[in-house]
Symmetry: C2
Subunit: 410 residues, 2 copies
């Protein structure tokens, strides 16, 4: 979501992300009370990664050596994106279980990252119990959400086993009891010296849970409705990301928003149209296969997930009459397409118009807490920050910036 | 939940709640970085209410003038509690709609209070848009939750009206769209100078929503299952509150927890046993009336809520055989009681054992953010802080410290 940047060097970005010189000189005793929670350089103990002038991966160096940094960036992005897309398709090929594992892994990784930021921001390294407690809460909330989903899907096969029946019957009670244990431990761990800090971290943990767990839970629920409800939305987001970058790269002139200085209106608008078109195509391609279209159902006989069914109405070809003024253009009076393709237009519109705000939010967050990433691309002037995030973060951007909204509409 | 205090004067509490003298002298330049977010006296701009030596309400003064402050406190508490209990019964008499309004009013008031604390803590008075945005989010989340509940209950009567049908069909989508508008406004309102502050307030708002709205939503859902699921749990909590105070008042010796210095083990244990006994009685009394026992159902014919039904199994008298060793004590071999009374034991146990942690949490929160309450009882040495909260806060303590867990078990 953060890909349609103007071709500017990193200096501007770095200046904005870091503290500006005139502000630096005013810290210390002159800091007014009001500024304390705003501009305090709280992560000064985290060392900056020294900017390297060229951190192109070793393998690519000989090939890319003759290019300007602008085009070098282009090629690195391209190769990087293709690798990730191939990986994505490989995971799809592996089946729904693999996708669930992927979503869960991303969720856990995101949680870990955000909690770490909290620890750094509040310098709460020596807080009693807290790291353990955060993970305990993550476990509880996941137990609750996965239980809710799984109970529906395994309900039939479980009727024989008494323990499982008990777990399902009292699932909410058990989850809540586990959460309460954590809550009580938190209260007991309150130490006078750290009261406020402990409450801050408690809040931080809960907001993190809200962001990561609820979203991945919704994504997984979608996935059970049929893999297409997972794959098409994510493809649309990836497509928007790439298209916006391409349009920004070739035509970008007009800055879009101060928060993300490299994004342009050209990228935003070009991305929008291309996403709608590609989304329409993706929908057509994926809607043809039962493997993608059918709800993921657990069959207790074969003890595995099956994706076989009579496809629902929206995945069967319908004939639509073309409006009169479009008939000369298409050369015919009717077209056949899947109703799901009309869905895809809504999804694309959403991904292109609202999705970027998820990116802006992340961008603002990064600046607010001055997050630095230790990846191999760090500091390369030709490569924008968003691409310097590790693969997993990129995937999670794709997933989370849209996850919630893309519930099946039927 | 904060009522079983030892009979000590307020001096100790005030010393603990406020800053200790030796800490005071170390502020300023000696403050280490680590302490900044912990002990910073952030609400110094909120003036302390000058402690008055006697703030007994005018009406009661002539009656209570001859008593020691210990007993004066006793009588004020007694009168206060009886007034509130009468008020509570009056509201029950007014019917389910009134109770829903009560819960909603408490929710809004709590939200307002906690948001105000956030604004004071972060000194975010001049943040663009934020107060408006917080209330907008409250509206969205309530729209979502109330819609979810109401859609179930009004579903039948609504089938005629097309607009309502549309609202129900796309309820989640509409709610999410509303939320997203708020989200986008937040992102657009981000100002460089305030980034971090704005994200703090965003998090604060969401945690507040989590605490207030989800709980009141669950309380209302319980209420629809039958008013007894609302009344008995709350009565149990009120009972535990009062009993723990009484036991603490007469027998309190051993301090329970540092966080709430006036609570005693005697109050905790005595309160527990009395709550189980009284809860058992409450359950017996309320289970006899259809008015309390029947699910609250909206009938589209009379256009009102009805509470008439054939009571479910757990609200009908059953015969239980008494264990042999208890037979001499009770003088008979069988007893008749409602299965709901057995439920009540679980509820009482929960209210007495886990509930207080809700109180400790609130107590810690109060100290962490040094909240001062401007009620007429403020500063009276004989009256503990928890009672100085206004009626609404007291009710909300009762409601929220247990709301979530007390879902019907059937």
């Amino acid at each position: 979501m953060t890909a349609y940047y103007r071709q500017t060097d990193m200096a501007e970005l770095r200046r904005r992300g870091g503290r500006e010189p005139e502000q630096d000189s005013s810290t210390g005793k002159e800091t007014t009370r009001e500024d304390k929670y705003v501009d305090d350089d709280i992560d000064s103990d985290i060392r900056d990664v020294p900017p390297s002038s060229d951190s192109t991966p070793e393998v690519l160096k000989p090939v890319l050596s003759g290019l300007s940094s602008r085009w070098k960036n282009w090629w690195i992005r391209g190769i990087f994106s293709l690798t990730m897309i191939s990986l994505f398709f490989f995971l799809i090929y592996m089946g729904p279980v693999m996708l669930i594992l992927l979503v869960s892994a991303i969720q856990v990784k995101c949680f870990q990252e955000i909690i770490s930021i909290g620890h750094r921001v509040y310098r709460s390294f020596e807080l009693p119990w807290f790291r353990t407690l955060s993970w305990y809460f993550l476990l509880c909330v996941n137990y609750f959400f996965y239980g809710e989903t799984l109970a529906d899907y395994f309900a039939t096969s479980v009727q024989r086993e008494e323990i499982l029946q008990f777990l399902i019957r009292y699932h909410r009670f058990i989850s809540f009891a586990f959460y309460l244990i954590g809550f009580c431990i938190f209260v007991l761990s309150l130490v006078k010296k750290h009261y406020r800090l402990q409450f801050y971290m408690f809040g931080w943990t809960h907001v993190t849970l809200l962001i990561t767990v609820t979203q991945s839970h919704l994504v997984i629920q979608n996935l059970f409705e049929g893999m297409i409800w997972f794959i098409v939305p994510i493809s649309i987001v990836i497509c928007n990301d790439i298209m916006a970058y391409l349009f920004g790269f070739f035509f970008g002139r007009t800055p879009l928003i101060k928060l993300s200085p490299k994004k342009t209106w050209e990228g935003f608008i070009g991305g929008f149209f291309m996403t709608v078109i590609f989304g329409f195509l993706f929908a057509y391609i994926f809607a043809q296969f039962q493997y993608f279209v059918c709800p993921v159902e657990y069959s207790s006989e074969t003890n595995s997930f099956s994706t076989k069914c009579k496809p629902s109405e929206i995945f069967r070809l319908h004939y639509y009459s073309v409006p009169a003024y479009l008939q000369p253009l298409l050369g015919r009076g009717t077209v056949s397409m899947y109703p799901f393709q009309i869905h895809s237009i809504a999804l694309s519109t959403f991904a292109s118009l609202i999705g970027p705000f998820g990116g802006f939010f992340a961008s603002g967050f990064k600046r607010a807490f001055k997050i630095k990433f230790n990846t191999w691309m760090q500091g390369n002037p030709g490569i924008n920050t968003s691409l310097t995030l590790p693969v997993i973060t990129r995937f999670s951007c794709w997933m989370f910036s849209h996850g919630t909204a893309l519930c099946p509409v039927n």
